[in-house]
Subunit: 388 residues, 2 copies
Amino acid sequence: MAGVRVAGVGLTQFGRHPERTGRDLFAEAALAAREESGVPSDDIEELNFGNYMGVLAERQGHMAPLMAEAAGLDCPATRYEDACASAGMAVREAVRTVRSGESDVVLAGGLERMTNLDTADVTEGLATAADELFEIRQGMTFPGAYALMARAYFERYGGSREDLAHIAVKNHDNAFENEYAQFHRKITVEEALDAPMVADPLGLMDACPVTDGASALVLVSDEYAAEHGLDAPVSVTGTGQGGDNLALQDRRDMASTPAAEKAADEAFADADISPGDVDAAEVHDCFTIAEVLAIESLGLYERGEGIGAARRGETTADGDVPVNLSGGLKAKGHPVGATGGSQVVEMTRLLRGDHPNSDAVPDADVGVTHNAGGTVASAVVHVLEVDR
Amino acid sequence: MAGVRVAGVGLTQFGRHPERTGRDLFAEAALAAREESGVPSDDIEELNFGNYMGVLAERQGHMAPLMAEAAGLDCPATRYEDACASAGMAVREAVRTVRSGESDVVLAGGLERMTNLDTADVTEGLATAADELFEIRQGMTFPGAYALMARAYFERYGGSREDLAHIAVKNHDNAFENEYAQFHRKITVEEALDAPMVADPLGLMDACPVTDGASALVLVSDEYAAEHGLDAPVSVTGTGQGGDNLALQDRRDMASTPAAEKAADEAFADADISPGDVDAAEVHDCFTIAEVLAIESLGLYERGEGIGAARRGETTADGDVPVNLSGGLKAKGHPVGATGGSQVVEMTRLLRGDHPNSDAVPDADVGVTHNAGGTVASAVVHVLEVDR
C-alpha cells in the first residue's frame, strides 16, 4: 500500500465573492495547489471534486469536468456529495486511489458559492441535507436541528450557553491571523451571549456564516514524491468514514454522533494512533455545539466532558490540544462543498509550520480533521502526520 | 488485486412512479439485489450511490445516507455525480474499492425521479449538466446539443434521419420483452420519421423518455464469493473513465466523443481485451445519434462507420454485436442517476443467460457498458465477463 503525501495546497479567500463564478474560485485554489506542489498538470491523473448546492446557487450540475477544465487539467473528474462532508469524501477517495496504486497523483478539493443566494434560499438549500419528508417539510432547518442536539446534550450532561460562547470566542481568536478567514474580528463572551437568538440555545454567534470559497490539494504517492524530489513533509496516514440515519428522529441519541465515532475509530486504526497522540484538530463546528460533539467523537474527550474544553482553555491556541486553529467553520467560514478540503489544507499548513498559527503547535506530529454532513449522518476523519 | 464479481442485481420498473418517493424506489432495487446475492446486510461495507437531480425533483440532497437506511444498510454511503454518468461512476469506484481490498462487498447503484417535474422543469434540470454560462444561458438544452452533434456527424461522414430511425426501431424491438422497460411498443421507421421534430435532425423518436427508476448491484471480491459459495458467474474485469470540456464549443470536434474513447481504451486495457472480443454492448443512447458515437468510441466501428450499423442489421438482436438488447435509454428508459448501474445490471443478466433477450447472445463471453454524462464530458466504460 502506497503512502500518501500532500504535495501542495491551495485556498481562496473565504467570504463573499459575488462577482466571481464557481469555476473561477476553484481554479484559483487548484492553481495555487498545483503551483505549490511543483507537479506538472499532465501528471495529475484524476480530479476528485466536492460541491453541495451548485445546482441551486449557479444552476450548474455536472461540475467535475468543468472544474477540471478550469484547473487546467486533462483528466477524468468526479463530483462527490455528502452534504457538508463532500470535500472530505473527495479527499478520502483520493487517498484510497493513491494508496491502491490506481493513480500516483490526484487533485482533490471542493467549492461552494452561497452568498449569491438570499438568506431564505440559502437556508432552504442547506436544509436539503436533512430529511425532506420527515424534517424539512415540518419546517426544520439546521439551526433548529443543532439546537435540538444542544438541548439533548445539556439535558444529558449539563452545559450552558456560556460554555458554547467560549468556543465562538476561541475560534474568532484563531481566525484573526488566518489570511484566508472570513472574519478577522475578535469577540467576547458577552458579545456572543448578547447576540440575537437564532434557535434556543443557539444564538447568532453560535453559527457559522454563509461563505463562498474553494479548497484544493495535490495528493501524491510516497514514491512519486521521492522520484520527483518534492518538498512534501505531510502525509495522510489515516482515513475513515461513518454513516448514520439522515433524520434526527431516527437516532438513538441526539447528544452524540456515532457516525463520526466510527470514522474516527477507522482513521485512528488506519494510522495506528490513539486519541492521545493527537496534537491538533480541525473539526466541523458549523455550530458551537458541533465542536463539542466532534471532539468527543474523536475520543479527545469522554462523552459529556467536551462542553467545558474551550472554557477551561484546553482547546485554545495555548491549550493542550488546540482545536480549530484555522478559526473553524465558525470564523474562518464554511463554503459547504469546500470545507472538508480546507480542513486538510489548514492542518497541512499547521504541521509544516507555515500557518500563521503554527507557533501554537511547534512540535505537533499528528493532526486530525473531522468533516461532517447534515446532523452528522455522514462523517469523514483524516489523520495527518509530518516528517520531523 | 482482487477480482470483482456481480453477486446480485436489482431494478425497479422503469417508467412513471408519481406516487413513490426516491427512497422507496431505491430500496426496491437494492433489496432485490441483496436478496439475489444472498449476502447478509451486515457484510455490505459501503454504499456507492448515483443521483443527478434529487435536489430539484424532491428537494433532497445528501441522499447517500438516506438510501443506505432505505436499503437496510448500516455502512458509510457516498453520492457520486457526473450527470447521466453518476451511477456508472458509483459502480466504477465500487470496483476499484473491492479490487484494492479496502472492502470485500460494496452495494452500488443509483436513482432518479423525474416524472414529478413538468416538461419545462425537467428540461431545465437536465440542462444543468451543460455549461451554464456558455450553453444554458444561450438557451441550449440537450436535444439541441445532440442535434448539433448529429449535424456535425452528418456533415463529416454522411448519414440520414432514416439511419437514426433504425436505431430507435431496434431499441424499441429490444425493449419489447424486457419486463423493466418503460416502453413495450414496437415502432416502425416510418413512425420514427413521422414523429414531431424536436431539434432538427432529431425527432421525438430519436430521444429517450423522461423516467423514474432505480438500479442496484452487489459487488464482491472473488475471495468473498468463493468463501460464501455465491452463484456469481459474471465479473467486472475492466473499468475506465474519461473526461472532456463541458461545453461543446470548447471541443475540437463535435462528431466524436474522445472522453468515451479514453474510457474504453482504459477499460479494454484493464480487462486485456480488444473491441473485437466484445459480444454485446449496452451504450448510452440518450439520443439515437449518441448510440452511433458510442459504438465508434468503443472501437466497435471506425469513425463514420457506426451510423449505418443498425440499418445494416449488425447491431440488432440477430446481428454480430447486438447493441442495447435491454432497449437502451431510448426504450428501456433513462432515469438519469440510475442508468449507469442499470446498464451493468442488464449486461449481467444477458451474460448469465437470464435476460429475456439472452437468447440473442447465447455464447456471449464479453459484454461492455458505456455510460456518458452531458454531451460526453464524462464517460465510464465497464467490461464484464462470464465464467463459461
